[in-house]
């Protein structure tokens, strides 16, 4: 690991001033940053340790019925907060399907949004990567790319965003609260992460020094609590990133879909909100034919970026299954294997 200056600021303004200097990186849980630093993928000259900043580790119910989650709330603490899991069950399920118990005890809300892709060429400093070195090329194109993006990719980058947490969050219209040199601002999570285009090194809406202070969920997000699921297909049962995942939430009344939310994970450089599919679901009968049409709409713009055409069909099936299990109802207790297709999901066909 390269040498760095270590700073532990006492306040948010001090942190922002310190991190605005070139070569700086914030440290919170460190579960991704230290891994990247050990591999020489990133070598900050200055570490700004925000892990003890006051006020950022609270979960607050807002007067308008919304929720404000401090950026330093640990993944495990959020997922096991009983009121949170009851109101936003698919978010809790997504959190518990990610990483391991040890990592969830350390990893934070803000850090989850900012985690880097797990593209192996990004991690291998001997390989060309436009994210790591702008203009260097992309070794994943034409490389081992069966896990890579099928939506929103470009010839400059075909990496995916690895977060589970962000998938239900983007479906529920989460908003990122950012503090920077110009004060506080709100950016929707849907707009927070950027698609690669010609500038894959630019991954999100943050400017130098900007600090994520909280993630907000609007009041409406809790209205899906009775019919919401996160489903995640992995190459092993636990402790693996998603091949494809889906967050599905419905409000069904008299067999008709009155509200629908759908987002996909593991398919693009950002958590992928499927708005065309949601429009198709709205007002339709809640049945498998409708869900299949929605799945087609969600993947209509998909194309393989390499040896990963299977992910498109896999994603369609995961969408159908996630919607089917959402319709069947949120289980009283999270399954033993959160988000796993190997858990017994009520209402879902095992071969869907």
């Amino acid at each position: 690991m390269r040498d760095f200056d270590y700073i532990r600021p006492a306040s948010i303004p001090d942190a922002i001033a310190a991190a605005a200097e070139p070569g700086s990186a914030y440290l919170a849980g460190g579960t991704n940053l230290l891994d990247l630093m050990k591999g020489g993928v990133t070598s900050p000259q200055r570490i700004v340790d925000i892990s003890r900043l006051p006020e950022l580790n609270r979960i607050e119910r807002l007067e308008d019925g919304g929720l404000r989650i401090g950026a330093l709330v640990r993944n495990a603490d959020l997922a096991h907060d009983a009121a949170f899991a009851k109101a936003y069950p698919m978010v809790a399920e997504a959190l518990l399907s990610g990483a391991s118990a040890q990592l969830r005890n350390a990893a934070t809300v803000g850090g989850n949004l900012l985690q880097r892709t797990r593209c192996s060429y990004f991690y291998d400093t001997a390989s060309a990567c436009n994210k790591r070195v702008s203009g260097a090329g992309c070794a994943a194109l034409g490389g081992e790319n069966r896990l890579h993006a099928v939506l929103g990719w470009s010839d400059a980058c075909i990496a995916t965003h690895p977060s589970d947490f962000c998938v239900p969050l983007v479906a529920l219209d989460a908003v990122v609260e950012i503090e920077g040199k110009q004060g506080r601002r709100h950016v929707t999570l849907a707009e927070f992460h950027l698609l690669p285009g010609e500038t894959p090194q630019r991954e999100n809406a943050l400017e130098p020094g900007d600090l994520i202070v909280a993630v907000r969920l609007p009041a409406e997000a809790a209205s899906f609590a009775a019919n919401a699921r996160y489903l995640k297909v992995r190459e092993r049962t636990s402790y693996a990133f998603a091949l494809v995942s889906a967050a599905a939430a419905l409000v069904v009344d008299g067999g008709k879909i009155r509200a629908a939310r759908l987002a996909l994970g593991g398919v693009a450089a950002k958590p992928w909100r499927a708005r065309a599919a949601e429009a198709m679901l709205l007002g339709a009968d809640a049945n498998e034919a409708t869900f299949a049409s929605a799945a087609d709409a969600a993947l209509a713009d998909a194309s393989p970026s390499g040896d990963n055409a299977f992910k498109i069909e896999l994603a369609r099936r995961i969408v159908v299954r996630a919607l089917t299990s959402a319709q069947a109802g949120t289980p009283e207790r999270l399954p033993a294997l959160p988000a796993s297709p190997f858990s017994n999901i009520p209402g879902a066909r095992h071969d869907a």
């Binding site: 579960t31 230290l34 118990a101 990592l103 402790y239 033993a336 294997l337």
Partner: protein
């Protein structure tokens, strides 16, 4: 970079240390304090061999900077037994052959202590397996590990009932 002063309580003992900011909690334990029970497997947060309890919660000590944990209370495998008397989790790992080569065992035991304290898995073997999925055992002693966790929980619950009575 100059060293920075930190204070850590490790297995009940207070340590005042000067550390290079790059030093992980894992390397500090092993290389500076000779607490080599905590193992360095992958050093990248993927294997769980370095699991310790920090302020009562299990984490990967390989992905923790020591300076960032100034003031923390750390428990390692060396702090688990009561003198010569094994902790019920340690005894259960032996009774149920919850290991073969033993390299992952300190991490497995610290992770089990975290799992039991979290209280999420209960006596469901599938929830225990899921709760311990961050600890890899290349000898694949998983069957014995789950049996050990089930028995240790039972022993600890009995001890709690005795204390309560």
């Amino acid at each position: 970079m100059t060293s920075l002063p930190i204070t850590l309580t490790i297995n009940g003992h207070r340590h005042e240390l000067e550390v290079d900011p790059r030093v992980t909690l894992l390397d500090l334990l092993r290389e500076r304090l000779d607490l080599t029970g905590t193992k360095k497997g992958c050093d990248r947060g993927q294997c769980g061999a370095c699991t310790v309890l920090v302020d009562g919660k299990r984490i990967n000590s390989c992905l923790a900077l020591a300076v960032s944990h100034d003031g923390a209370d750390v428990m390692t495998i060396e702090g688990v037994a009561n003198g010569e008397e094994l902790h019920p989790v340690q005894a259960a790992f032996i009774a149920h052959d919850g290991f073969q080569c033993g390299f992952c065992t300190p991490g497995q035991i610290m992770s089990t202590l975290g799992l039991i304290a979290e209280g999420q898995a209960g006596d469901d073997p599938e929830r225990i397996r899921e709760g311990l999925s961050g600890n890899i055992c290349r000898c694949a002693a998983y069957g014995g590990i789950v049996e050990a966790v089930l028995e240790a929980q039972e022993q600890l619950a009995k001890a709690d009932r005795r204390t309560a009575a």
